[in-house]
Symmetry: C2
């Protein structure tokens, strides 16, 4: 299978490239891996197939056409400007999250000759907006209250229409907040959900900018990579032309996170978290939904963690090399 | 008030221009009327204010900027490629219904200096897609199954985001099927709903391409112009940033239409309708919803007809110059 990953230098993109190199798609090995991002993505270690890395701006004239020129069977489109940046820079958000996405879909359509790749598009729960019911079902309206959510909702509409017209075979994944996100903070307002676990687990201080009763929806990076791999292989017929799915996750409060941290790493880890309310972060995060019933995705076999102990264990195993029974 | 109507050569645009010239907005006279379309729109008779007509393609480079250069306080954006044509010509549909709409919003944003016009955007029930509940409420999901519906749903998302960011003050109107549409058929699949009344009322034959038990959602051209005028004047604060509203209408079957025709014009008029099933038209129309509960719009004072006798009476009065008590 020939696979193209756009956004392959990001956290999820790198992990996805490693998973593709190691395990392929539904048992079929990846023979040709093309990795694109605005900076050259790393090459996964130990991959024996053909691999090519490209530093390219998807929004640039001709870039999308060049990326799909040799007709990859599976395209993962993960490239995006995150929510905080899309809100701060209106033009950049629309250029990357809308125009580049449309340029990709148009390049696929223009390739012609019956080319109809599987396109896995990362969307977001930000397509929803308040007021929310207690639990959000698959039929909930998409009324975003951020430019990022607007751009993702538009991407979903385009994915549906291009799929319906037979130009591509799309699957959109509304990802939960990824936790524990490794490495350094990005500009997403959700960063603290990872910081308050990752930093104390490494013996470092962390700041909690919101109340600990706040409830939110989470999945580990490992689960997110699993969603992407699964989306590349599923039969899309049951989706009809509603191609975007809320992904499974864990509904938990910040207090639940902290209790799991205490169980795994003790009170001294919890003591590293300092409460420092940030009204800007709080104003964004308080508009997010708390719980979902992703029935369509579960029926199609998508799976996530069921406790924060599990999510922490995945981090210890995948990021810190500390094998942990809970992670299985 | 300075008013710009884009799409002013179309059926609704012409009627709206006449209404603006005659009655203004919420009692305030229109002092300056700018009428734009791909062909030069007609000038409303007897208008004493300043009027300018422009034959311009909104999608052309610089066209949108020129249209908003003298900062009209109210902009009606009615220009669109209809559903049948947007499905037949993918590129044209996206160019007119998406790109030109976005070009207009961008030109307004670029004008700067605190300019924040009221923008009234005509959307459509085509933003919805099956499966439908018996009655569609204001919170129903937007999952279109046509390219036209996709483009309108994207326009609504942009209208919300540009309103939220303070670039414009948008109101989107999801119009019912307009009936009785005067003049000659356009490429909309809904044309027969008007044909089966308009033609027999003029003593001419008409073709019914679908079963007469089909139920649909209607308003007269006069009601539609009323929606547009009302949308130009309402307080938008109660809308929040969900700026598009399903407009009130009449839920009626084709048989209801025919019975009203019989009451107004007798059996000889009904005898002019010939049943000739058209599977292409039927396939499109059968995916449309039948009934709505437009509670938000009604609460804001939008009003439509409550019987087909009334809708026919409006046609007799407005199009055929035959004053009719039922039309009041």
């Amino acid at each position: 299978v020939q696979v193209l990953i756009i956004g392959a230098a990001g956290m999820l993109g790198r992990k996805l490239a490693e998973a593709m190199a190691a395990r392929g798609i539904a048992g079929a090995p990846v023979t040709d891996l093309r990795l694109a991002d605005v900076i050259a993505p790393p090459v996964p270690a130990g991959f024996s197939g053909k691999v090519q890395t490209l530093a390219v701006d998807l929004a640039a004239e001709g870039a999308a056409a060049a990326l799909v020129a040799d007709l990859p069977a599976v395209i993962f489109h993960l490239a995006a400007v995150v929510s905080g940046e899309a809100e701060a820079d209106f033009d950049k958000g629309y250029a990357v999250n809308l125009d580049a996405t449309r340029a990709l879909f148009e390049a696929i359509r223009a390739a012609g000759g019956g080319y109809r790749p599987r396109v896995v598009f990362t969307s977001s729960a930000a397509v929803f907006g308040p007021p929310f019911p207690e639990v959000i079902g698959d039929d909930f309206r998409t009324t975003p209250l951020t430019s990022y959510g607007t751009q993702k909702a538009i991407g979903e509409l385009l994915l549906n229409d291009y799929s319906r017209r037979g130009f591509l075979d799309g699957v959109g994944l509304r990802l939960p907040t990824i936790c524990i996100r490794p490495g350094t903070p990005n500009r997403a307002a959700s960063g603290f959900f990872s910081n308050i676990l990752r930093e104390p687990l490494a013996g470092l201080p962390a700041v909690l900018p919101v109340r600990d009763t706040l409830r939110h929806w989470f999945a580990s990076p490992r689960a997110a990579v699993g969603f992407l791999q699964h989306a590349a292989a599923i039969d899309t017929a049951p989706l009809g032309f509603r191609r975007s799915l809320m992904m499974p996750g864990l509904s938990a409060t910040v207090a639940d996170q902290i209790e799991a941290l205490r169980r795994v790493a003790g009170q001294q880890a919890v003591d590293l978290i300092r409460l420092a309310p940030d009204p800007v972060i709080a104003a964004i995060v308080e508009t997010w939904a708390q719980d979902y019933d992703p029935a369509r995705a579960r029926a199609l076999g998508f799976q996530a963690e069921s406790s924060f102990d599990q999510i922490i264990a995945v981090h210890l195993e995948d990021e810190l090399g500390r094998p942990h029974a809970q992670a299985r």
